[in-house]
């Protein structure tokens, strides 16, 4: 109680300064969040790709489908892709392939524009989902469309912000060839907050970068099983991209590998994992150089301003503190009161920031706020806390280091000047 009264006393003479400091703290943390969120956004897909463990793989973009493939009915197109996969798998040098996920659309809450993505286990292993709440899909996840509890799913994007983990909801599937529809229950087991990336493998070109292998948007991710795929192929129109990853067995003979590579060369284009990695690094580095100097400059300026104002704030309280010394307060306790005073302001600012970051999806979705894409999640809260601690440490530490050299009476004299 006495401690709180002393902190209250710290604010009582500094009402306006406290408000200014609170605003500065809020602004600095917002800038910090933005700068770090942008950095994480630019490097996210790179990190995911580098951690995928696909070192021996090549990304293959067959040309055999050609422009005519677009005109094929989805089911015929898919069949052609699957036939192609079988052909590639027949090479001795090919250990396995990771094909693109099946994608399809459905109607959710009477509105189109959403869909599903089927992740096979190898895809989940290579590209783990960035779960922000709940859990990811695994071998125990329910993929039975006829089960009463609904198909286990990870929900991506703001479209599903109202659905809680454990909730069940219904989506409506539309088949390609008829107007009949089927309602399917979905059971939310995990969520990926925006930006929610899912593997697409839709990009084809000579220079492939990690971010081009992913899609962003509001989708429902389901675990692919033969039964679920068959159900969806019957009741909706899932599609698959023709591009895929091929695992070239390093233990196969050179001739076997050459046979395969020559075939791939004839049939389309392929890029190695290392080439994608290098091109991605170059692209990310270029993007970071273009996009980040400004946010980080603002972060630097706001941090310096914040620390300076905090230190001035402390110096302003020095007279009062020097009186505390006369009354038997130790130096550590005095600075403890000030640290708590400024700490509470920073906690309040942190709270404001966390509330804002928690609701940024809502604000952006409803047009209240327009910000460049960035990654904001639980890690951002940790970063906010670390940033707060750093600012507090410097704000209190600098004056403390200066004044610990002085005796109480020297501090008193200086404060009176």
């Amino acid at each position: 109680m006495k401690f709180l009264k002393m902190i209250g006393n710290f604010y009582s003479r500094n009402k306006l300064s406290s408000v200014v400091l609170l605003i500065l703290f809020c602004a600095a943390m917002l800038v910090a969040n933005f700068a770090i969120g942008r950095y994480r956004y630019f490097t996210y897909t790179q990190k995911v790709f580098c951690n995928s463990g696909l070192d021996h793989f090549v990304y293959f973009m067959p040309a055999g489908f050609g422009p005519d493939a677009i005109t094929l009915p989805p089911d015929e197109y898919s069949k052609k892709v699957e036939d192609y996969h079988r052909k590639i798998k027949s090479f001795h040098a090919v250990r396995s392939i990771i094909s693109a996920p099946w994608n399809g659309s459905f109607t959710f809450q009477n509105a189109a524009g959403s869909g599903y993505t089927l992740y096979r286990d190898e895809l989940l292993k290579a590209f783990p989902l960035r779960i922000t709440s709940g859990r990811s899909l695994d071998a125990d996840s329910n993929s039975d469309p006829n089960s009463g509890g609904g198909i286990d799913a990870v929900l991506c994007g703001y479209l599903y912000h109202n659905i809680k983990i454990g909730d069940t909801f219904t989506v409506r599937l539309h088949p390609y060839k008829s107007s009949q529809y089927t309602d399917v229950k979905i059971h939310a087991i995990g969520k990926m907050d925006d930006p929610a990336y899912t593997v697409s493998l839709g990009f084809g070109g000579t220079k492939v970068q990690a971010d081009e292998l992913f899609d962003r948007g509001s989708v429902v991710i389901l675990r692919e099983t033969p039964k679920l795929l068959a159900f969806l192929q019957k009741n909706s129109t899932p599609q698959i991209s023709e591009n895929f990853f091929i695992d070239l067995n390093p233990e196969s003979t050179q001739k076997e590998r050459n046979d395969c590579v020559q075939y791939l060369d004839r049939q389309g284009r392929f890029v190695t994992y290392d080439k994608i990695k290098t091109d991605t690094e170059k692209a990310v580095s270029r993007t970071l150089k273009q996009e980040l100097p400004m946010p980080f400059f603002f972060l630097f300026v706001s941090t310096i301003s914040l620390i300076s104002i905090s230190i001035l704030f402390i110096y302003k309280n020095l007279r009062q503190n020097s009186i505390y010394y006369l009354c038997g307060c130790s130096r550590k306790k005095c600075f403890g009161y000030m640290a708590a005073g400024i700490g509470l302001i920073s906690v309040a600012a942190g709270g404001v920031n966390i509330i804002l970051m928690k609701n940024i999806g809502f604000l952006v979705w409803n047009g209240f706020l327009s910000v460049d894409p960035m990654i904001v999640d639980q890690k951002s809260i940790l970063l906010i806390v670390l940033y707060e601690l750093l600012v507090l440490f410097l704000s209190i530490g600098i004056p403390y280091t200066v004044y610990r050299r002085f005796t109480p009476i020297e501090t008193y004299r200086r404060a009176q000047q």
Binding site: M1, K5, N9, Q320, S322, I323, C327, G328, I409, Y412
Partner: protein, 227 residues
Amino acid sequence: MIRVSHLFKSYGTGENKFQALADVNLDIPDGSFVAVQGKSGAGKSTLLHILGCLDDFEKGEYFLDDVNVKNLKDGKLAKLRNQKLGFVLQDFSLINHKSVLFNAMLPMFFNTTPLKEMKQKARNALKTVGLAEQENKTASQLSGGQRQRVAIARAIAGNPSILLADEPTGALDTGTSKQIMELFSKLNRQGLTVIVVTHDDTVAGCCNRKIIIQDGKIIRDSPNGEG
């Protein structure tokens, strides 16, 4: 009980070194009423600050109630200041925007006295100095004499054994100075050790013992009235 032996204190270094106290020896028994006099720069305030554990010293020993102050760290010194010492300074050293009651309670915020008891003790101290009716006013609303009395109330509220006053009447008129010294006499009669640093002979005349410092040395230490 204060016991100081061979105390040395200097400021600055090299050519700028100034010897503020040189080989000071002093015993002040409990219940004394002592005036420390001397010209400006003689070292009287430095001595008071060292006695008040507000300043350090280079050589010598200082025992406060048998506690060797020399080896104590900041936390222990602060505790000693809080429990045994009360300060009254020329500029009152009050928190001007806070109430008289808050100022009087201030030292007890730094010890374990419960809040309710703090208020009671502070009110008693304010009653002693004749400011019981002013407790809700802010310090800035009071006259100079009243502010000094608040400072005295603050100094005695925590029941210290020693009251240290550095030019307590320096900023006051003659009439108010007299009232303050009468207050000190009253507190001394109640058992409090009072040490007053002053250059004013009238103020010093109210004390029972007079110590005169010159160039950092005690040149005279005698009961009042003995020259």
